[in-house]
Amino acid sequence: MSEQGGHILVVDDNRVNRKLLRRALEQQEHSVVSAEHGLQALELVRSEAFDVVLLDIMMPELNGYDVLKTLKADPELRRIPVIMISAIDEMGSVIRCTEMGAADYLPKPFNAALLRARINASLADKRLHDMEQAYLAQIKAEQEKSERLLLNILPESIAERLKDSEMIIVDSFPEVTVLFARAQ
C-alpha cells in the first residue's frame, strides 16, 4: 500500500491504452504524464523526475527495448523502476525486458488490482532507494562539515595526518606547535 501517489510516466502509442491507464492511475491517486513514443518518453524523463515508468514494447520511432536500454545505461535514470506493458502472448518479450532490467510487467488487458499492486511495489522500491540516497547525502554533508571544522582549528597537514589515524603527532608551525597523542 502506498502512502501517497507517485509521479508516473505512461509510454504507449495506443491512445486508448494511454487514456485508460491515465484514468486508472489517477483513480489510484497518482499523477500521470503520458508519451506517445519512445523519443518523447526520453525527453520527458530527462526533464521531470518520475517515480515509475510504464512502458509499452511495440512503438514507432523508438520502441520499448530501446527506451529501456537507454534508461538502464544512464546513471541518473537507471534507478527509475520500469514496468513493461505487454500482451499475455508476448512472454518472450517480457523475459527479454526483465533481463534488460525492467522491474516488472503489466499484462494487457489491464486489471485494476494488479495495476495497483505492481505500481505500489515499484514505488516502494523507488522510495527506499531515494531514502538511501538522502541518507548518503546527509552523511557526506556531515563529513564535510566536520572536516571544515577540523581545518578551522588545525593546519591542513595535521588534519590529514589525523585522518590517516597517526597515533602520535609532534610538529611545529610558525604560529602553533602541535603535540597530539591518541589514546590506545
Binding site: 491512445r15 486508448v16 491504452n17 483513480q27 494487457k108 489491464f110
Partner: protein, 118 residues
C-alpha cells in the same frame, strides 16, 4: 459471420479501473470506434505495399484494443494477422483481413448498443 460476442467481464474490468465512470467508458469506446477503421485501413495499405512491419503494428494495436473491450474473436483474428506480419511474409493474409472488417462491423454494433444502454 455471426454477431460479435462481447465479453462483459472486460467491460466491467474497465469500469472497475476507472471507478465506475460510465461517461468515461463511453468516451473510451468512441475512441476505439474512431481508431479501429484507421488501423484496418493501415493494414490494407501495408498489405498493398508489402510492408510487413507496419502491417504487424496495425494488427497489434487493433488486437490490443479489441481484447480490452472484450471482443475476443476479433482480437484472435488480429493476433493471427499480427503473427503473419511478424513472419515477414504477407502471402498468408488471404481473406483474414476481409473477415476482420466484417467482424469489426459486428463488434462496433455490439459496443454501440452497450454504450447507448449506459
Amino acid at each position: 459471420m455471426t454477431g460479435a460476442e462481447i465479453d462483459r467481464t472486460a467491460i466491467d474490468a474497465i469500469l472497475d479501473s476507472v471507478g465506475g465512470d460510465v461517461t468515461f467508458l463511453a468516451e473510451l469506446m468512441d475512441e476505439f470506434l474512431a481508431d479501429s477503421p484507421e488501423q484496418i485501413s493501415d493494414m490494407h495499405q501495408a498489405f498493398s505495399a508489402g510492408d510487413a512491419e507496419s502491417f504487424r503494428r496495425a494488427a497489434h494495436s487493433l488486437k490490443s484494443n479489441s481484447a480490452s473491450f472484450g471482443a475476443i474473436e476479433l482480437a484472435e483474428m488480429c493476433k493471427e494477422l499480427e503473427n503473419i506480419g511478424k513472419s515477414g511474409n504477407l502471402d498468408a493474409v488471404g481473406n483474414i483481413l476481409t473477415d476482420v472488417e466484417s467482424m469489426y462491423t459486428n463488434v462496433k454494433s455490439a459496443l454501440e448498443e452497450i454504450r447507448d444502454k449506459g
